[in-house]
Each structure stands twice: as structure tokens, then as C-alpha cells.
């Protein structure tokens, strides 16, 4: 491989890491908050698809990308609220509810999104961080989704909030010992519903990033498992918001390999390269999980890590 080809490839992957990783970041932050409260929401996959559709529809109808982003967050929150409420019923498993929401979210999104497949919607602006360079490759790699800095700030806010605020403590208590939370007079279900809903809002922003930035249109194949990968990422990130950021970038980079190779003219094995994130996720799960002990840092009430 010629050196400049390698450089182009590297640039494309770095640029792609942010571009592809932004939805991962939001969904994993949302899932992190949900799981900290002691519930797992596999339905964020459905939330991602549904909010991508809602965000695209909102931007298309209102003409403002940011209104679309807000609508995406709210619709994600609504779907997650359903998850929270259902799981609060006795004998309803959160895993099964997550599967149901995956199907429902995709079904609703495909149904309501049918008229949205053709049109163009206003896009989220990109920040030209590469303006200092004269190389168009560098410029396009460093043109960053305006949602990305918001996600980074959100990661910081979550990390600080979970560690240092009263609300953060209550959420973590509901996730680590529901008995303690109950003894202090908090409604465990109430806390979990709130955390799940807030997590759904955050994940919805990731959906907006999919349909309003990259790939930047709405179609039925928009999300295929990104939401689920992000759920698995949280285990890899050991339930720490800052590490979610690193994990999201890593997986964004892995997901960018296929398109990056295609952009420099290598198209063989396109589907296989697109499957790299799934394989990587599985490999990381195999490496981090163990039947003998709980994953370090896992909320004690969580079923997924046991």
C-alpha cells in the first residue's frame, strides 16, 4: 500500500470515528444512566430508529435541524418511558420488554417514516475544526458533527452528576441496593422510570445524529444494531461516562473501516468490514465477562452482568 493511501485511510478512519461514533456515544451514555439505576434497556435499539425518524420528520416539517434534534430526544424519551413503566409492573422482565421495544420502535418508525424516505431535511451544521489545514482530506476529516461536543459535555456532566450530586447518588443507590433506596424513602421504581426516560432522551439525540448528520437521510436500514452495540459498550466502559466516550470513538473507528476502504477504492469484502463492530463487540464481551465474578463496576442490581 502506498504511503499516501495509508495516510488517506487513516484520516478517513479518524474522521469516521467521530462521525460514526457520535450515535454510539449518545446511546451508550443513555444506557449508562439507565443501567446505573438498575435496569437494562435493550430497547434503545428501537429508540434509536424511532428517534432518527422523528428527528428527520421534525427537521423536515419545521425547517430547523435543532427542532428536529429536540423532537428526536423527546420521542426517544417517550418510548423509553414506556419501557420504564412496563418494567415497573410485577413479573415483567426488562430484557423481554427491551426486545418488545426494539420491534415496536422499528415498526412505528417504518410506518410513520414511509413518506420521509424521499425528501431532504435541513442538516445539523458541522464544525470546521480542520480550517487551519490546506489539505481537503484533513478538512473533511475534522469537520465535526455539532452534536459531538454536546455529547462530550454530556459525558462530563453525567460523570460529575453521578458522582457529586444528590440525584446522582439516588440513581446509583437505586442501582446498587434497592433496599437502601427504599429505606431512605425513595421510590425505586420512580427513580428507575426517571433514569430510563432521561436515558431515552439522550439516546434519541443519537438518533438525530444518524438521520440529520451521518448518513443524513431517513431510510429503513438506517440503524442495524448500533443501539445494541452501544448497550454492549456500556459493559466494556464499566459504567463510566468518560470511558463511554473512548469506547464510542473506538467503535466509531471500527465502523468507519468499511466506508473508509471504499473511499480509497477497496470494495472487496464490504459486508465483512461492516461487520467488524459486531465482531469487536462480541470479542470484547467475551474478554471482559466472566461466569465467576460480576464485571467490575457493575451496578449490583443489574441482571445483565451476572
Amino acid at each position: 500500500m502506498a504511503p499516501e493511501l495509508g495516510f488517506d485511510l487513516l484520516l478517513a478512519i479518524i474522521g469516521g470515528a467521530v462521525r460514526v461514533g457520535t450515535p454510539f456515544l449518545f446511546v451508550s451514555l443513555g444506557e449508562c444512566l439507565t443501567e446505573k439505576s438498575g435496569r437494562i434497556n435493550l430497547g434503545l435499539e428501537g429508540v434509536l430508529v424511532f428517534s432518527a425518524m422523528a428527528g428527520f420528520g421534525g427537521a423536515y416539517l419545521s425547517g430547523s435541524a435543532w427542532l428536529g434534534v429536540l423532537l428526536a430526544g423527546c420521542s426517544g424519551a417517550a418510548l423509553a418511558l414506556l419501557h420504564g413503566l412496563l418494567c415497573s409492573l410485577p413479573r415483567v422482565s426488562d430484557i423481554a420488554t427491551g426486545i418488545a421495544l426494539m420491534l415496536l420502535g422499528a415498526g412505528l418508525a417504518f410506518y410513520l417514516g414511509k413518506p420521509l424516505i424521499q425528501p431532504q431535511a435541513p442538516q445539523i451544521p458541522s464544525l470546521a475544526l480542520g480550517a487551519w489545514s490546506s489539505s481537503p482530506g484533513v478538512q473533511s476529516a475534522l469537520a465535526i458533527n455539532a452534536l459531538f461536543p454536546i455529547g462530550v459535555a454530556l459525558a462530563g456532566l453525567l460523570a460529575w452528576g453521578l458522582a457529586n450530586t444528590r440525584w446522582g447518588l439516588v440513581v446509583r443507590m437505586a442501582g446498587d441496593s434497592s433496599d437502601a433506596a427504599r429505606a431512605l424513602g425513595h421510590s425505586v421504581n420512580g427513580v428507575r422510570i426517571a433514569a430510563t426516560t432521561a436515558g431515552g432522551f439522550i439516546a434519541g439525540l443519537g438518533g438525530a445524529s444518524l438521520s440529520l448528520y451521518y448518513p443524513g437521510s431517513w431510510n429503513e436500514g438506517l440503524s442495524s444494531g448500533q443501539g445494541l452495540i452501544a448497550v454492549a459498550l456500556v459493559i466494556f466502559a464499566r459504567w463510566r461516562p468518560w470511558r463511554c466516550l473512548g469506547a464510542a470513538l473506538l467503535f466509531g473507528g471500527a465502523g468507519a473501516i468499511g466506508p473508509a476502504l471504499q473511499s480509497v477504492g477497496i470494495s472487496g469484502g464490504y459486508y465483512l468490514f461492516n461487520a467488524v463492530p459486531y465482531v469487536l463487540t462480541l470479542a470484547i464481551l467475551v474478554a471482559t465477562c466472566s461466569p465467576q465474578r460480576q464485571v467490575k463496576g457493575a451496578p449490583m442490581e443489574l441482571g445483565v452482568s451476572r
Partner: protein, 367 residues
């Protein structure tokens, strides 16, 4: 109120029926908001599925793979695992079935049919067993791993179908070479009312029956249910939990793989992208509605196969998007889970009671 002996069976029937009714109601509301008539939607849903011979044929054809993909969820579920990798096992099974004649070009006849179906079942079994093994020996959550494996399987499928095994004659829709005529599965009785309904339906029914018999009447089936009911107790009495769990996953995956193989051998004749139609995901719903009971799977599969068959009628007559069946399935799933909360309490609910007013005193004197 006292619990009575008929309460259990009555609940087992009433809860899913109530949930399905609620789902249909919600679907009607949804359609109504979109400006279509809910009554018409309901009528079309049942007319398209069970209205005439053609509807029944379509329904039965769609129910056959659903029975098998539902078994892929139900068997591991009885061992305590929530495995949802049916879609991945199905596409790999289809691939195995279509790819075997490349390796063994001389295949023909009934033996050949058996071999291509077995190839599909084996690939599916290996794929889902992997999720079970990862869970037992590495502690990896089986729901997540099976779904990831499903995406990987679909990627492999597309790679192989559009790459190494692509039939040069398939121009705008990449496919493998079609199966030889003698390897295909034909209709049960083409001249009767059954029409195109193929032997896959019989395979599905027989396997559901066999799975139910195995779980209910054999020692290993019982052991599996013990593992699923209480893993600790199973370990304490010395049951080989790990092997049983992997076995259940392998059998389930084998069923889904067989579904894919049958779809190739009876419907599509070659492996192509039409196989990735969400049959694995609908199978999850069927299994949950049937409460993972193999004997309850065929009627439920028939119902959801029917809804899927009626989808095109909804599309044509009411102009609803093709995803309307997905919405109905999503509602059904949510309501089925919510109904689970009422189990054991349906007859204990505090219904508003109307007590006849009774005189307690007449003219100041107590009665």
C-alpha cells in the same frame, strides 16, 4: 376471593387473548389517527388471513417458518435463556442449504433433500449454540451475544451470496445458483385446496409436537426445565446444566436453521436477500405469546402468519405502509408482556361491586 382450580387454565387462555384484543384495539386507534377506518382494517386483517382458500394458503405458508423460528426462542427459554438469534440462524441455514450443492454437485433425490436440510439445521444449531456456550462458560449475556451473532450472520450471508457463491446469471438480484429440481421441496397436495402449501408446514408441526413431547415426557426434557426454573437447584442435584443449556440452544438454532433451509428449498429455490424478512424476529413474538410452550406455538404462528399474509391486503385496500403489520406486532408484544403482570391475579382483582342496599334499621330499631 379464593383461588379455584379452573383459574390457572382460564388465565392461560384469557390473558393472551385479552392482550391480543388490546393490541388490535390499539392498532385500530393507530390506523384511525392516520385517517383510515379501524373497522375496515380489522376486517381486512382477518379476511386477508382466513377469508378464502388463497388467504389460508398464504397464511399456512407463512406460519411454517414462524413455528420453527419460534422454537428457536422457546427451547432456550425453557432452559432459562432469552436467546433471540433466530434471524441469524435462519439466514445461515438458508446459506448452508444453498451452498451444499456447490460442494457436492451430485446431490439428488430424497437423500439429497435430507442432506441440504440437515446442512442448514447444523449451521443454525452451531450458531445459536455458540451464544449458549458463551453464556455458560464466559458469562456473556446471551440476549446481546445472540443478536450480535445475528448481525454477523447477515453480513456473512450477504458477503457469500454477493461474492464467492454468486450465480453469474442473477443480474439485478444477487443469488446463489438455484437448487436442482430434485432437491426442492414440493407442495403437499397441489391439486387440492391446499395449493402451494409445502411440506415445511408438516415439518414445523411435527417439530413443535416433538419438542413438546420431549419437554413434557422425557427425563432430559424435565432436567432442562429444572435448569430453567432454578439453576441453583439444578446444580445442587447434579444436573449437567452447561450441557443441557447448550443442547437447548443447539436444538433451537437447528430449528431456525431448518426454517431457512426450507424457505430456500420450497419457496425461493436459491439464497438471496428476500430471505432476510424478519421471520426470526416475528418468531420471538410468537414464542412469547405462546409462553414458550411448543404445543401452543402452532396456533399462535398461524395467527401471526395470517396477519403477515393480510399485510399486503391492508397495503392495497387502505394504502397503509407495509410496516403496519410490524406496528401490530409491536403492540402485541407490549401488551403480552403487560398481561404477564396480571398472571395469578386476574381473578383476584378488586372489581367494583354493587351491593344491594339493605335495611339496617326500621323505625329506629335494628333489624
Amino acid at each position: 376471593m379464593v383461588a379455584r382450580s379452573w383459574h390457572g387454565p382460564a388465565e392461560a387462555l384469557l390473558l393472551p387473548l385479552g392482550a391480543l384484543a388490546a393490541a388490535l384495539l390499539a392498532f385500530g386507534l393507530f390506523v384511525w389517527f392516520g385517517g383510515s377506518s379501524p373497522v375496515e382494517a380489522w376486517t381486512l386483517l382477518f379476511r386477508g388471513a382466513f377469508g378464502d382458500a388463497f388467504g389460508w394458503q398464504n397464511t399456512l405458508q407463512r406460519a411454517a417458518p414462524l413455528m420453527l423460528t419460534a422454537l428457536a426462542v422457546a427451547l432456550p427459554a425453557r432452559a432459562g435463556l432469552t436467546v433471540i438469534g433466530g434471524e441469524g440462524a435462519l439466514v445461515l441455514g438458508a446459506l448452508g442449504c444453498a451452498a451444499l450443492p456447490y460442494a457436492l454437485p451430485g446431490l439428488a433425490g430424497t437423500g439429497g433433500q435430507g442432506l441440504v436440510l440437515a446442512a442448514g439445521a447444523l449451521l443454525g444449531a452451531a450458531w445459536v449454540a455458540l451464544a449458549g456456550a458463551l453464556r455458560q462458560w464466559r458469562g456473556v449475556n446471551e440476549t446481546i451475544s445472540s443478536l450480535l451473532l445475528g448481525y454477523i450472520a447477515v453480513a456473512l450471508f450477504k458477503h457469500v451470496v454477493e461474492g464467492p457463491l454468486r450465480d453469474p446469471a442473477s443480474l439485478n438480484k444477487p443469488s446463489t445458483r438455484p437448487l436442482a429440481e430434485s432437491l426442492r421441496i414440493g407442495p403437499i397436495s397441489p391439486d387440492s385446496l391446499l395449493g402451494d402449501v409445502h411440506w415445511g408446514l408438516v415439518i414445523g408441526l411435527l417439530l413443535c409436537l416433538a419438542a413438546g413431547l420431549w419437554l413434557s415426557f422425557t427425563a432430559s426434557g424435565f432436567a432442562l426445565r429444572v435448569v430453567g426454573g432454578n439453576a441453583r437447584a439444578a446444580r445442587l442435584v447434579g444436573l449437567p446444566s452447561d450441557r443441557l443449556v447448550v443442547l437447548a440452544c443447539a436444538l433451537g438454532g437447528g430449528c431456525a436453521g431448518l426454517a431457512g433451509a426450507v424457505e430456500v428449498a420450497a419457496v425461493h429455490t436459491a439464497a438471496n436477500a428476500s430471505l432476510i424478512a424478519g421471520l426470526g424476529y416475528t418468531g420471538i413474538l410468537v414464542s412469547f405469546v405462546a409462553r414458550h410452550d411448543p404445543w401452543a406455538i402452532p396456533p399462535v404462528a398461524l395467527l401471526f402468519g395470517g396477519f403477515a399474509a393480510a399485510g399486503s391486503l391492508l397495503q392495497r385496500r387502505l394504502g397503509l405502509p407495509d410496516a403496519s403489520v410490524l406496528v401490530l406486532q409491536g403492540f402485541a408484544f407490549v401488551f403480552i408482556l403487560a398481561a404477564e403482570a396480571l398472571r395469578g391475579r386476574l381473578f383476584q382483582l378488586d372489581m367494583p361491586t354493587f351491593i344491594k342496599p339493605r335495611l339496617v334499621a326500621v323505625a329506629g330499631r335494628a333489624v
